[in-house]
Amino acid sequence: MRYLPLTDIEREEIKKTIGIDDTKELFKSIPADKSYFDLSAIPPALSEPELIAAFKELGRKNSFQEYLSFLGAGAYAHFIPEVVSYLSAKGEFLTPYTPYQPEVSQGNLQAIFEYQTMMTMLTGLDVANASLYDGGTAAAEAVLLAVRKSGRQRVLLAESLHPEYIAIIRAYVQNLPIELVTVNLNKQDGRVDLRDLQTKLNGATAAFIFQSPNFLGLVEDSGALAIASHQQQVYAIQVVTEAMSLAYLRPAADFAVDIVVGEAQSFGLSLGFGGPYLGFMTAKEEFLRQMPGRIIGQTKDLDGKRGYVLTLSTREQHIKREKATSNICSNEAWCALRAGIYLATMGKEGLARAASSSHLNAAYFVKKVASLPHVKVVYKRNFYNEVLLEIKKGTASAFLAVLKKNKILAGVPLDWFYPDVTNRVLLAFSEVHSREDIDRLLRLMGECA
């Protein structure tokens, strides 16, 4: 077997050296009646050509790639320059362990230091960590961070957070003495109901966590939300599921938001059927010593040369055990490195172009779709690259089924998340869509009537 370099002769030599006749002797501490179990239920080995054929066969059972897709809702198709795939696939980046030996890990350490810097530039906040698992778990970690920092146990959640994120936050805190309270959506404008927020904020509240652009695609009035929160010394946490929006919208720091967390899959990670993605966390400096996850810092070596190390590790589980700020160990280091390559490659101009193009495509769709009598854009203002569409007659699923027959996936039906909402669809736009793609979508929507 090509992954097993020992020859039979070498196995014999090793056995002789360690003083055994039979390899089984090495396992004699295992209860004898349980060891060396019957392997016949396990499939036989595939040769490399057979393996390739088997996976081709599995791939053939997928047909998603044949469709023009407007799916978003937390995972977004963006163009990935080839150098990003080429460089990130290098074995030097893909096959090291966590950089516990900084003298031989400067490549990864510097790359992630650069990533941390770019994330702080995008949100405007002081510090970024080296990654968390994904947007949903990052949101949960942000809730725990705010609770730790404030010493308060009550957290307000915006109803317009991604439903999966709400579910993850609930799962994370289910056994902890943390009270979660939902802040309603204002159905008029699709954003947080400021009055409801003000009613629910109090001096026992640790944080208010909201998403912007929110799950319905709308840019929240972060300034008003942060001001209201701060009046009760409550931290304002912004969740971002579409990281591309960071390059187009006013940064959270302009609105005094305290923590920005979310999903950075949009920065060079393939859709990959949902993972691995990249949870990010940026915060004001005051949160630094309570933050979860790895953090890379600059230092000097014995000769005074600039270098980078994992730092502030006294927050972490391998030192603090149950008193650590998080249990996280393996994180999404390679995804962060890849996002860094993506951001550097796109650069100031390219990122701005992809980010504005995503919005302009959505705006073009909203303008054009107004002429179709059987559908209606629910919120015509404040959207970034996602648009909530109402189907006036029939259900969203029936509407989508017709478009699907024409090889178009015209958005995620909201009944996937809210079973009662049967007539709404969330469409996502990005720079991967050409004007012709959007015109085709509009034309076929027109024919659906």
Binding site: Q116, G274, N327
Partner: protein, 480 residues
């Protein structure tokens, strides 16, 4: 001498372009107010494509990697990452959107069920969730399952028992699941004995978290009696499967009384560590715990595959979408390549290699526990004129990545060595010869070790400075 690269911000020049994106062809008519739109991002990189490639290639050269050489990190299972698996995971046809209609992603769903089937066959457990993102995430998931199960039975209990040799994630994971931690001392043999455990067992104990083989590389031979004692007490046995590589195809944890376990696809199943992730930490459970697994659950219904998003007893959702899908592809490809002919050989060769190193080094280094070991061995720095750290840094000069150091905590100056099955005997012999040489240097010129490394691009880095005055990002003119 390797030139240290500048930061990407330092090579940036106004007007340089690294991307090839075309111009938008829709009208430039934003639907947002100008007050909602940001100004350009100050100091964001502007670098040409060729300079991007050179920058990252320069960084790549500064990294030690598994592709470059031996990586004997104990408990990390740094085994070779097969290249074909990378190609399969990158294939276009698997890169679907996670909310694609299920009939368009039948291949992806089938793939997940196939890996679950493999894991069930290898562990003897009743079912798996593939959603946890890493080992520690799997531990947390497992603890939530245990707590929910006990809660449904009327009392979630308060305490989780954890041996003193455990990885730090164990107590942290149990803590975030709402449990208090009680530490169990290891016996003189380096394992848990039933009599030592008994005083800790009472009606508050929800579970014992046991790494098996443990972090000393020793199989917990009392596991059947321990499981029986726990179960008689109404407590559950959680097995940390970080070291499953030692048992692959040899014994099924499900046959040993284990109720819940996580495994690390990035360890036992050869998916790349990526410099610290992404990992993947599937959790398997015995039959009585199946209803508590997190959602979503991929299910086979006739010849179609579907997904269940809610179930009455589930602990809920612990991660977005379906987990680390592209890692799952690599793990399945690895197992398909091994097949029944080779799975057991993985464990056997890993254990042979580790015992070969143990035999060769035990005359040179102090071996604190003489109990038989499986896939790894832990030495201490007792009676050495230098510290473990010095030996580790000197290994770098000889072109080897060091072993895990200062863990487990119960061994003074621990040196924890795990060669894995993917290293040749020739590599092991070179490593052993280098260790011999380093220990000779330690006796004759210890200062040489204290000054090590000399051959690396940078020498020892000042971690105290980094923590005391944190510089966590580049700022124009400030990172000199």
């Amino acid at each position: 001498m390797i030139q240290l690269p500048q930061l990407i911000f330092e090579i940036s020049r106004n007007g340089k372009i690294g991307h090839g994106l075309g111009a938008s062809k829709v009208p430039a008519e934003p639907a947002l107010d100008s007050g909602q739109i940001r100004a350009e991002i100050a100091d964001f990189p502007q670098v040409s494509e060729v300079e991007i490639v050179r920058h990252y290639m320069a960084l790549a050269r500064l990294n030690y990697s598994l592709d470059a050489g031996f990586y004997p990190l104990g408990s990390c299972t740094m085994k070779y990452n097969p290249k074909i698996n990378e190609k399969l995971a990158a294939a276009e046809e698997f890169q679907a959107h996670p909310y694609a209609p299920h009939d368009l992603v039948q291949g992806n769903l089938e793939l997940m069920i196939r890996l679950e089937d493999w894991l069930v066959a290898l562990t003897g457990l009743a079912g798996f969730t593939l959603t946890p993102a890493a080992g520690a995430h799997g531990e947390f998931t497992g603890m939530l399952i245990i707590r929910k199960y006990l809660q449904e039975k009327g009392d979630p209990r308060r305490v989780v028992l954890i041996p003193d040799s455990a990885h730090g994630t164990n107590p942290a994971s149990a803590h975030f699941a709402g449990y208090e931690i009680r530490e169990i001392p290891s016996s003189a043999e380096g394992i848990i004995d039933v009599d030592g455990l008994r005083p800790y067992l009472n009606s508050d104990v929800a579970a014992l978290m046991m790494t098996n083989p443990n972090t000393l590389g020793i199989f917990e031979k009392n596991i059947l009696a321990i499981a029986a004692a726990l179960h008689a007490n109404g407590s559950l046995l959680y097995m940390d499967g970080a070291n499953l590589n030692a048992l692959l195809g040899v014994v099924r944890p499900g046959d040993l009384g284990v109720d819940v376990m996580h495994i690390n696809l990035h360890k036992t199943f050869a998916t790349p560590h990526g410099g610290g992730g992404p990992g993947s930490g599937p959790v398997g459970v015995a039959a009585h715990l199946l209803p508590y697994l997190p959602v979503p659950r991929v299910v086979k219904d006739g010849d179609k595959y579907g997904v269940i998003y809610d179930s009455p007893y589930t602990i809920g959702r612990i991660k977005n979408f379906y987990g680390q899908f592209l890692v799952i592809i690599r793990a399945l490809a690895y197992l398909c390549s091994l097949g029944r002919e080779n799975v057991r050989r993985v464990a056997e060769d890993a254990v042979l290699n580790a015992n070969y190193i143990r035999k060769k080094l035990e005359g040179m280094l102090d071996l604190p526990y003489h109990t038989a070991t499986l896939h790894e061995v832990v030495f201490s720095d007792k009676n050495l004129p230098v510290k473990t750290l010095d030996i580790a840094k000197r290994l770098l000069d000889y072109g080897f990545h060091p072993f895990t150091i200062y863990f487990p905590l119960i061994v003074h100056g621990a040196m924890m060595i795990e060669p894995t099955e993917t290293e040749s005997k020739e590599t092991l012999d070179e490593f052993i010869a280098v260790m011999d040489k380093i220990l000779q240097e330690a006796r004759e010129q210890p200062e040489l070790l204290r000054q090590a490394p000399q051959q690396t691009p940078l020498r020892r880095l000042d971690e105290t400075l980094a923590a005391r005055k944190p510089v966590l990002k580049w700022r124009k003119g400030e990172n000199l």
